[in-house]
């Protein structure tokens, strides 16, 4: 499985709510989230945690037992799904990656979503995703060109 994205949305200058970015129905199809931030040593720190959606569609993350997340600090939260295949491997790949800030809310961490990237192979098949990514591949090859020419 590789990084993919059929939608990327930036908040720009407009104040957005989580509901503006994240479809609660789609999010409810995931079982847990992976919260990631940058720790004091400069490494990414990820942890899995359960989440729930409030009646208002807010994303509430269960507080994990880890070094404190800086309240108001920027995090990324990945919601990911695969279905294992009995003969090996997996299918039904989909994810939603949300960036935003977290704040304390009654023992939970409330995620204020600001930006999103997602992919669902049932919506955008893999071959079409590859076709859409060719410009990135060309850019990468061009970046290698000076070392090849040298």
């Amino acid at each position: 499985m590789e990084e993919r994205g059929h939608r990327e949305t930036r908040g720009g200058n407009q104040p957005l709510t989580s509901l503006d970015l994240v479809d609660p129905d789609r999010l409810s199809r995931f079982r847990y989230g992976v919260v990631t931030w940058i720790d004091k040593d400069g490494f990414p720190f990820s942890v899995a945690t359960d989440f729930l959606l409030s009646e208002n569609g807010e994303i509430l993350l269960k507080r994990p037992s880890v070094p404190a997340i800086i309240t108001g600090g920027r995090v990324g939260v990945l919601f990911n799904h695969i279905t294992g295949i009995p003969t090996g491997g997996y299918t039904d790949r989909r994810y939603i990656l949300v960036w935003g800030r977290v704040s304390e809310d009654k023992g939970f961490l409330k995620l204020h979503a600001e930006e999103l990237s997602e992919w669902d192979e049932k919506i955008l098949p893999f071959d079409k995703l590859c076709a859409a990514a060719v410009p990135q591949a060309k850019r990468y090859l061009e970046s290698l060109q000076p070392s090849i020419d040298a």
Binding site: E2, T36, V47, T49, I82, Q136, L141
Partner: protein
């Protein structure tokens, strides 16, 4: 690596990890197929040049993490393990450098040979960068209960 058997099971049998690179201070996390090289205690992912933005991130900042949280399809009980490490990207042989990991890839995704047979059709996909991650710190939550403190694994 002096890790309990349940941690080794995760490394040896989980199919995917949640891999994070850093883009100008922003964590970018995607699910990735990974391989664990027990000989050198290294974690390896490969990336098509199609999806190479994470490689660009790592060339600027090699600090990465791999979270193992999803046992789906692995036959292993759910545990959660975090590996923080330093990534080294090798794009010196995009066409063949990654092929040494094919035996491990085949074990995880037996159908990969079907894609390989259509290598010409997916030419961009099969130009791949190898990323080797040297672990610096490992934290593990047995039974996946992240409400409890993690156990630090000796490297």
């Amino acid at each position: 690596m002096n890790a309990p058997s349940w941690v080794r099971d995760v490394f040896e049998h989980y199919l995917i990890c949640e891999f994070t690179s850093i883009d100008n201070g922003k964590p970018v996390t995607f699910p990735l197929l990974f391989f664990y090289n027990d000989d050198g205690h290294r974690f390896v992912v490969t990336s098509s040049i199609l999806f190479s933005r994470k490689i660009e991130h790592m060339k600027k900042n090699p600090k990465v993490s791999l979270l193992f949280s999803n046992p789906e399809g692995s036959g292993v009980e759910k545990h959660v393990v975090l590996v923080q490490g330093v990534a080294k990207c090798d794009d010196s042989d995009l066409d063949h450098g990654w092929e040494r990991y094919l035996p491990m890839w085949r074990k995880k995704e037996p159908y990969i040979d079907g894609f390989l047979a259509a290598r010409e059709q997916f030419a961009w996909f099969w130009k791949r960068i190898v990323v080797e991650v040297e672990p610096k710190k490992i934290l593990a939550w047995k039974n996946g209960d992240t409400a409890k403190p993690a156990e630090e694994i000796n490297l």
